[in-house]
Symmetry: C2
Subunit: 216 residues, 2 copies
């Protein structure tokens, strides 16, 4: 099946991957898959002419990315729309070449540019908060105490549309200069794995309550 426009994000002046363009990806399914695997993004904005980059949790729902935080935080405190650059990076492996120059990293990253709006609709806000919780542990929202009216007021939510989006992906072994393969140096990739460790209960878990199922 030929990909249609609807299955791809349209590159713009700033999302067109120029450097090592073979790594540029606009396929929606691949972009979604990277966004759904990560759960901490780095969000950039301009404050008084200066760049600010903050790590924060996020969740995707369809073609929207949601962020949340205290209304007093730097990201949330303005009431107007805010130009953001939101980046999610998954580091997959060290790429150990035989030369320093070709040493690299296998990674998958997504960059989203756009104007974020404050979510004021109560139902959309509620669904966004649900998606943060269930993004990491499916079904947990339905088990825990959902926000009170006061907690809802104490949480701001931003929505950033997935419109101006690109992914960059590097996979595979190092690419050494032909003559360097003769060097007595190990070459290949070393995977980096992110796994869950053994859950540590906080000492106040009621008897008979099971540890939640983790998908990672």
């Amino acid at each position: 099946m030929e990909p249609t426009t609807a299955m791809q994000y349209t590159p713009t002046e700033r999302t067109q991957v120029r450097r090592r363009s073979v790594r540029g990806v606009y396929d929606k399914q691949q972009v979604h898959s990277i966004l759904d695997e990560g759960f901490v993004c780095h969000v950039g904005f301009v404050a008084e002419g200066q760049p600010v980059v903050i790590p924060t949790a996020y969740a995707r729902a369809g073609e929207q990315i949601y962020l949340h935080g205290s209304p007093a935080s730097r990201l949330m405190k303005g009431q107007q729309e805010l130009d953001l650059c939101l980046t999610v990076t998954l580091v997959d492996a060290l790429v150990l070449a035989r030369s320093a120059f070709h040493t690299s990293i296998n990674y998958r990253s997504v960059v989203v540019y756009g104007r974020a709006r404050h979510v004021t609709d109560v139902i959309e806000k509620w669904q966004a908060l649900r998606s943060f919780t269930n993004h990491v542990i499916h079904g947990r929202w339905e088990q825990i105490k959902q926000p009170t009216e006061q907690e809802l007021k104490a949480t701001s939510v931003l929505a950033l549309p997935l419109e101006e989006v690109s992914a960059k992906i590097r996979t595979g072994p190092p690419v050494d200069d032909e003559e360097d393969y003769a060097l007595p140096v190990w070459g290949g990739v070393v995977p980096l794995l992110q796994t869950f460790g053994i859950p540590v209960p906080d000492g106040r878990v009621l008897q008979g309550i099971a540890v939640p199922q983790l998908k990672r």
Copy 2:
């Protein structure tokens, strides 16, 4: 021993951690330890008034952070100094509270603001490139082919001083509202571990060459 100014970064208007200020850290040793554990940062700058956030490798040498890339890349292409915000985030654990509102993440992050300069001194540039390689695998620079003159020209290096710096750290169990501890919900932390997988040779490794020692 009382901490002296030299052991701490001095908070500025934009590095003073206001929100949940208990998590703000200015201790140089702790900042260095976070920077030395990570190896991919997210660097933000302003391009035509808009924020841009790029993931990239980095290394610390003393009170400098070095970045490198192609001279044609957006980060490197200008010859003038560039205002950056560089953020390194280590995600340590999911913090599973009994309420959505108190659900959190244990993390350690460092934010560095400053003006990056292009490294033109050949010795400093050489040492910076060495630090990228040896930051992840100690001693590898001494084993592999070091850059040729042409490769050196094809690599730009930026230095960002560690002057305007803060760290934010969250550790420990969830903090639930007292009445919520009665809920039949598991509460505690689930560690997130980053480990190396089994190295995958690229099929052209000479006989008798050992897999490099990995410190992570």
